[in-house]
Amino acid sequence: MGPVPSAALQLLAMAAVLGLVHRPLGDYMAGVYRSHKHLRVERWAYRCVGADPDRGMRRGAYLRAVLAFSLAGVILLYVLQRLQGVLPGSSGLASVGPAQAFNTAASFVSNTNWQSYAGERTMGAVVQAGGLAVQNFVSAAVGMAVAVALVRGFAASRDDGELGNFWADLVRGTVRILLPMAFAGAILLVATGVIQNFAGVHEVGQFTGGPQQWNGGAVASQEAIKELGTNGGGYFNANSAHPFENPNGLSNLLEIFLILVIPFSLTRTFGTMVGSVRQGYAILAAMAAIWIGFCALMMWTEFHHGGPALQAAGGALEGKETRFGVGGSSLFATSTTLTSTGAVDSFHSSFTGFGGGLTLLGMMLGEVAPGGVGSGLYGMLVLAVIAVFVAGLMVGRTPEYLGRKIGSREIRFAALYILVTPALVLVLTALSTALASPPHSVLNSAATAVSHSHAHAFSEILYAYTSAANNNGSAFAGLNADTDWYNTTLGIAMLLGRFLPMVFVLALAGSLAEQRPVPETAGTLRTHKPLFASLLVGTTVLVSGLTYFPALALGPLAEGLAS
């Protein structure tokens, strides 16, 4: 089979499998969040934090719990890294510097997993297992909890403004969804050849000019939650391009599946919880349309890029693993940037100008198709609120979504949500290009004065902040981000980009839950129809497209149109 049919087949197969799995998984998750029972291990966890899992929380209480839990996570992770040098079992690795420790703490708590360090050479077992791995689970569970709180805002039958209990949502998401799925995922990954051992470092003889080391480790187990929780922080610096993390085409597809499965299935959870699965289908359709469209575009630009060298190679293969090819790499790159994963099996910087632009644009959409675990759903629902508002006016009624009026309070929170990330990305990128020293971090030097590489250098900086503020974590390799400036500003972008939107989402959820639902009539805008799903796609693309068009023009577009 030629590479192009194979790529198309991979895309279709992935869509089909996700279509099959999302229903049972979505319903299972709805059951988990609606359950009234507590497992023994859960009760134990509630006693540890002193929480009553049956007490309903209004938006303020829910938000305080989210922020308190996350702040504790940042502090714990920071302290762990700073003390690594004196902790036992750290394989002799030194303590991490303050800027990098802050950056990493912010990164893992915000579900970003931006790594300004090389995993195998910086973090010892204690930090990896006791800090980073824990956050891989709980930061994902926090995202899902906030999404479920928003869904409860839409589904509330009483107008008391209660959004559920954060501690219950957090613990259940971890214990009943992420842990079992990660366990199953790890076993499947091992079956495809991903390593899982406690072997140390092996010296494996001489290769061109020096000794080579192979690191063993519990890779498959970390790999599973890395993808499943849309985290993206790799065991190895090369991430999913490393043959121990991602040995072949099948493991590649499995990892893509793990990335996408929870975010897509949450649309079913949403539909079930609001009592109309068709509403979930509309959201799913909008997400799927964007994801498939981006995948197809990415494959098209990577296969058909001009330029004699690329034509001779049969596609843009620089920076891609031959075992995945253009198809597998395109699918992975698109899926990882349309979710908040940020794992990479190829180097986005080496993609064609347009291809790199697509990875950027995928994140700029706000990572909503299907987005990070939880964050994708709440991001898309906020966009749906905006779409409903404009469309609702056009049918001559005060706009309503799922029986809730979208008034000025709701629009204020939705608009603030939409504002946060572009503001962070654009302002920090502007500062980094305007200040004297940060541009020098660009490795394939901006000083070469060829305008083409100017555009690429700009893309690298833009990509870094887009990735951080959207909690993606992937990098346009080529930027040395381990400087005080980048460690600090990227860390701030990650934290604000994660938690400010959550503030507005929970505010929106509370304001929806305080409303008395309006019954649907023939005059109500139908939000489960294809027309609305297309409108949602249009809104998503237009809102971010218009915001970032100038920046994209000076980066990937300038580069892509030059050839």
Binding site: M394, T398, G403, I418, A423, P519, G523, R526, P550
Partner: protein, 711 residues
């Protein structure tokens, strides 16, 4: 059944004509809510007012246009700094025009209200009141009256203030307020006691108790409303403003950060170009027209002689999902009408018709007259009045006897004919030695069950008394009501008929008119309870009312339209007053509310969709020098960078003027389902908004390229 069909055809002409006259605002072509007239000369007249609105303290209320004004100042400053550059001057000039056009739209909208306010003011000025104090009469200026004062008004006097008639009855010319020249009767007690300051007493003498404090009379409030002085932003308008402001902030960030990006690319931009880009991107079209749309919406109501006490109520009208309609006057014509004659016991139908006609000539009630009409129209009897019948002794209808009739003397014999309420006529027949056959009783029962009113026709002569047959009186549903209700159903509005009739009659009329539900034997308490029940289910309720006992329900309803003929209590309680006192207008009010929201949504969509083309015009113009590849984004093949930017700016300004008529008239509205409405509006304003500027900018660019020196 076939009979009833043909009857409704025969009455439809009259009823149709009635509807056309009562709903003058609707064009006869059907569904569309007609807009106000737009006069291009109004733009010129409003120019001075538009310039006054350039005051930043006024502009700041519209965040989007405030940004444009700051941009205008900024570009002007830069143009002054380098006076040799035509481009800077041109951009500055067009930005000022953009600001001015926005103010012009608002000023034109307000101007139309001002004309109405002036007419009203004339009615108010210079009235002298004859105040009664302790039996004595003193003359005081109308403005010195307070609530509770008693004033005397006689023929020729202008009523000095709002109040209730407490003594006497008078005919009053209310044309100053309603525009309707036919005088109305105002009398003490009951539901027709309210008089409005500024109206004129034509006959008789009344004593009025003033109910409004000076400066707060009905006319004062009307003036404030139509002038827009009392205008407050409505909830949806606030929400939309929030969205627009946040879009303005997003684009502000995008443009401000663009300069460091441009410098990084080695191609820094001038402030003039950046400001031009910003103004093109922020949603100026909707930002400029937003308040004009709101004012024009209120104005469309005023044109239909409806006064809303707040814009909020107009918006709420668009959201109404339950409509309470009084049966009489709204769903049915005011009175019952003869529908058919049914003969009993083999009596001759034409004899029955003749008897019905003769016996009704002395019945001046509308029901009686309708019997005469039916006899001629359907049964082909010659038209005649009392003078055509010789030797007749007429027995007029009275509420006591509940019968009318005639005694005809011919050839020495007397033939006596009676028609009237079933019970009364039956008694008369028996009194004259006749019997009422079971068939007649069965017939009357059947008619009553079907919601009609049976009248018996009987005659008595030398051979005795006998029942000839039955007249079936029924409520006549106004023509087109079934279609209106179907329309409302498609719009998602449930209609509930309110009637004092018994449930049986009510059901029959409800079935025939196509109304969704009914409330029979309704008391004011029942109405109030119904409204509360609907509201607790999250529905918005609209109703009309005129009596004092309607006041609580009017106050409770989300949209309460009081009839101008009603009591002041009712007018106080509602949030709208219909000066024509036409209860069907509620449907139009709902349509105006919807049209208001649709216009806002449509222009917002249009405005945002415009940005795509503007990017394709401006970005290549800005950066094709640094990255020649970006010239491939110049899909419009615009002439030069400067003319490209100019074209976008000019288009952005002109589109505001081009859309002023639309914002004043409102977008086309036809009652249809939300899905179809959304599809249409997305197509017209979404896709249209995407495509139009590509064409518009290209045309302006072509025009500009002919100007020497632009290249």
């Amino acid at each position: 059944m076939s009979m009833s069909t043909s009857t409704s055809t025969s009455t439809s002409t009259a009823a149709g004509a009635a509807r056309r006259t009562t709903s003058s605002g609707r064009d006869p072509g059907g569904g569309r809510v007609g807009g106000g007239l737009f006069d291009p000369a109004a733009l010129l007249r409003s120019l001075p007012e538009a310039c006054r609105k350039l005051d930043p303290r006024v502009m700041v209320k519209s965040p989007v246009m405030f940004v444009v004004e700051i941009g205008s100042v900024l570009t002007t400053a830069y143009a002054v700094a380098s006076p040799g550059d035509w481009f800077g001057w041109a951009v500055a000039a067009w930005l000022w025009l953009t600001t001015l056009f926005a103010n012009l739209a608002e000023a034109v909208a307000e101007g139309r209200g001002k004309a109405q306010a002036d007419t009203l003011r004339r009615a108010r000025t210079g009235t002298v009141a004859r105040r009664l104090t302790g039996g004595a009469e003193e003359r005081v200026p109308g403005t010195a009256l307070h609530a509770g004062d008693l004033v005397v008004c006689e023929a020729g006097d202008t009523v000095p203030g709002d109040g209730d008639v407490v003594e006497g009855v008078a005919s009053v010319d209310e044309s100053a307020v309603t525009g309707e020249s036919a005088p109305v009767i105002r009398e003490s007690g009951g539901d027709r006691s309210a008089v409005t300051g500024g109206t004129k007493v034509l006959s008789d003498r009344v004593v009025v108790r003033i109910t409004a404090e000076p400066g707060d009379t009905f006319i004062d409030r009307m003036i404030r409303l139509v002038e827009g002085a009392a205008r407050q932003k409505t909830p949806n308008e606030i929400a939309l403003n929030t969205l627009l402001a946040s879009l303005a902030v997003v684009f502000l960030i995008a443009v401000v950060t663009l300069q460091p990006f441009a410098s990084f690319a080695g191609d820094p931009q001038t402030v003039i170009v950046l400001v031009a880009l910003l103004v093109c991107l922020i949603p100026t079209t909707i930002g400029a027209l937003l308040s004009a749309i709101g004012i024009a919406g209120m104005d469309r109501l005023v044109q239909r002689n409806v006064l809303a006490t707040s814009g909020r109520a107009v918006e709420a009208a668009g959201d109404v999902s339950t409509l309470l309609l009084d049966k009489t006057g709204t769903i049915t014509l005011g009175n019952r009408q003869a529908h058919e004659f049914v003969a009993v016991d083999g009596a001759d139908e034409s004899r029955l018709a003749e008897a019905a006609q003769l016996s009704s000539l002395a019945d001046e009630t509308p029901e009686g007259r309708s019997v005469v009409v039916l006899a001629t129209e359907r049964y082909g009897l010659p038209e005649r009045d009392r003078s055509d019948v010789r030797g007749a002794e007429w027995i007029a209808f009275t509420a006591g006897t509940r019968m009318s009739g005639v005694d005809l003397a011919a050839d020495g014999a007397v033939r006596r004919i009676r028609k009237g309420a079933a019970g009364s006529v039956a008694a008369w027949v028996r009194g004259n030695g006749g019997t009422v056959p079971d068939a007649a009783r069965a017939l009357t029962d059947r008619i009553a069950e079907a919601g009609g009113t049976p009248l018996l026709v009987a005659e008595a002569d030398a051979r005795g008394a006998r029942v000839l047959g039955v007249i079936h009186l029924k409520d006549v549903i106004k023509s087109g009501m079934r279609e209106r209700f179907a329309e409302l159903r498609r719009m998602g509005i449930r209609t509930v008929m309110i009637t004092g009739d018994n449930p049986l009659t009510a059901r029959a009329i409800a079935d025939e008119s196509g109304v969704d539900d009914f409330l029979a034997e309704a008391t004011p308490e029942d109405k109030l309870a119904l409204i509360r029940r609907e509201q607790s289910g999250g529905r918005l309720v609209a109703m009309t009312g005129d009596g004092t006992n309607d006041a609580p329900a009017l106050a409770q309803a989300d949209v309460g339209v009081a009839m101008n003929t009603g009591t002041s209590a009712a007018k106080e309680a509602g949030n709208m007053v219909d000066l024509d006192s036409d209860p069907t207008k509620l449907i139009e009010i709902i349509e105006i509310g919807k049209q208001l929201l649709i216009t806002r949504g449509a222009l917002t969509t249009f405005s945002i969709a415009n940005d795509v083309a503007k990017y394709f015009a401006i970005l290549p113009a800005m950066f094709a020098a640094a990255y020649p590849g970006l010239d491939r984004l110049n899909v419009m093949r615009l002439d030069s960078p400067q003319s490209a930017i100019m074209s976008a700016v000019v288009f952005n300004a002109l589109i505001i003027v081009a859309l002023v008529p639309l914002s004043l008239k409102g977008v086309r509205y036809r009652p249809r389902s939300a899905d179809r409405m959304l599809r249409r509006n997305l197509l017209v304003y979404g896709l249209g908004g995407l495509v139009t500027p590509f064409a518009g900018i290209k045309i302006i660019d072509l025009a500009l390229s002919t100007v020497p020196g632009v290249r």
